[in-house]
């Protein structure tokens, strides 16, 4: 099953469950609190996911390591390499 199909399947499943509760499709006669909670769920979950995404990406950007040491080390090694290669006969 492709990832797309997995998503479609999950969304359909959740969608059916939501519709069943919200519109009382099976005439289950659940207490009204179920309907009240279920009805805004899709929007609520989307907003929740949106917030989670922004928070996660924000956190990851903030903690993205800046490799200062690596850059300095590279510069030093470049100089060393150039000198050594010149000695070995490399002509640029």
């Amino acid at each position: 099953m492709t990832k797309l199909l997995e998503w479609v399947f999950c969304v359909l499943l959740l969608g059916v469950a939501w519709a069943l509760v919200t519109f009382d499709l099976l005439d289950l006669r659940l207490p009204p609190i179920y309907k009240e909670l279920a009805w805004p769920m899709p929007v609520y979950l989307l907003v929740l996911f949106g917030c989670y995404s922004i928070a996660t990406i924000g956190y990851r950007v903030a903690t993205f390591n800046d490799c200062e040491e690596a850059a300095k080390e590279l510069q030093t090694q470049i100089a060393e390499a150039k000198a050594d290669l010149r000695k070995k006969g490399l002509k640029l």
Binding site: N65, C67, A81
Partner: protein, 250 residues
């Protein structure tokens, strides 16, 4: 050169590592990356060869590669040039055909990937007998030098979307600093159809599909010592197109 043959020259365990270096206009960087590779392989004692796949660079990269061959020997520096710029996937296929190692390392030739991590890749691979080891900029003490806030946001954002949609089980999918068992690389490359960043992503996704094991090593990515690295609207659009294609087909 005699001094280079120190005690640790040959570990004798039969493993040989072929480093594939696709190059295009890397006249300045090629000698430096080769020098670093020779240094770290020499110090660690692993057996290796460096395969330079130059795509007809107009700046004379191939001439420099020939000089390096004179200095380090034809067994260590193997030249397999091509006439024109033909793309990364085919460069790997071409390079692997001539690789005499049982492991293949792919990396960028522009000094953004540092050979000092190669012994770490090798050790990680041996520890878990991984089919492939991927360098990651996003986890552990991996990281990047030279990226501004915009670039970091795009990078993390794209990676987040990829993780949500594809759940790949690897933290860095667009990275191109990796160690593969040779037969694994061969099998994966012939299955992959995308280009650019997405090609590297597809390699990991297909590896997962074929149930290959993936190890990770944090690496530092130093962006473009000599030039500028651009990430424009076009690249973002083609990345998204490629991502959605993988989403829908794998």
């Amino acid at each position: 050169m005699a001094s280079r043959r120190t005690l640790k020259d040959n570990r004798g365990d039969g493993d040989k590592y072929s480093v594939l270096l696709p190059t295009y206009n890397e006249r300045e960087n090629l000698p430096l990356i080769v020098w670093l590779l020779v240094k770290y392989f020499g110090e660690s004692g692993y057996n290796y060869e460096i395969i330079v796949i130059d795509d007809g660079s107009p700046d004379g990269t191939l001439e420099v590669a020939k000089q390096l061959q004179q200095i380090y020997g034809e067994e260590k520096i193997v030249l397999r040039p091509r006439a024109a710029k033909l793309g990364l996937g085919t460069a790997y296929i071409h390079g692997v055909k001539h690789a005499t190692g049982n492991f293949v390392i792919i990396m960028d030739a522009d000094l953004s990937h540092h050979p000092k991590f190669i012994p770490e890749f090798i050790e990680k691979q041996k520890k878990g007998n991984y089919d492939l080891v991927s360098g990651t900029r996003y986890s552990g003490d991996g990281g990047v030098y030279g990226w501004d806030l915009r670039r970091k946001i795009i990078s993390r954002g794209a990676n987040f979307v990829t993780q949500v949609l594809l759940r790949p089980g690897a933290s860095d999918l667009t990275g191109s600093f990796r160690l593969y068992k040779k037969e694994v690389l061969e099998r994966l490359v012939e299955r992959c159809v995308s280009k650019g960043y997405v090609f590297q992503m597809e390699m990991i996704i297909r590896a997962r599909q074929l149930r290959y094991t993936i190890g990770e090593v944090p690496i530092s990515f130093v962006d473009r010592v000599y030039g500028e690295s651009k990430l424009g609207g076009n690249e973002i659009v083609s990345f998204l197109k490629g991502l959605l294609t993988l989403f829908a087909t794998t």
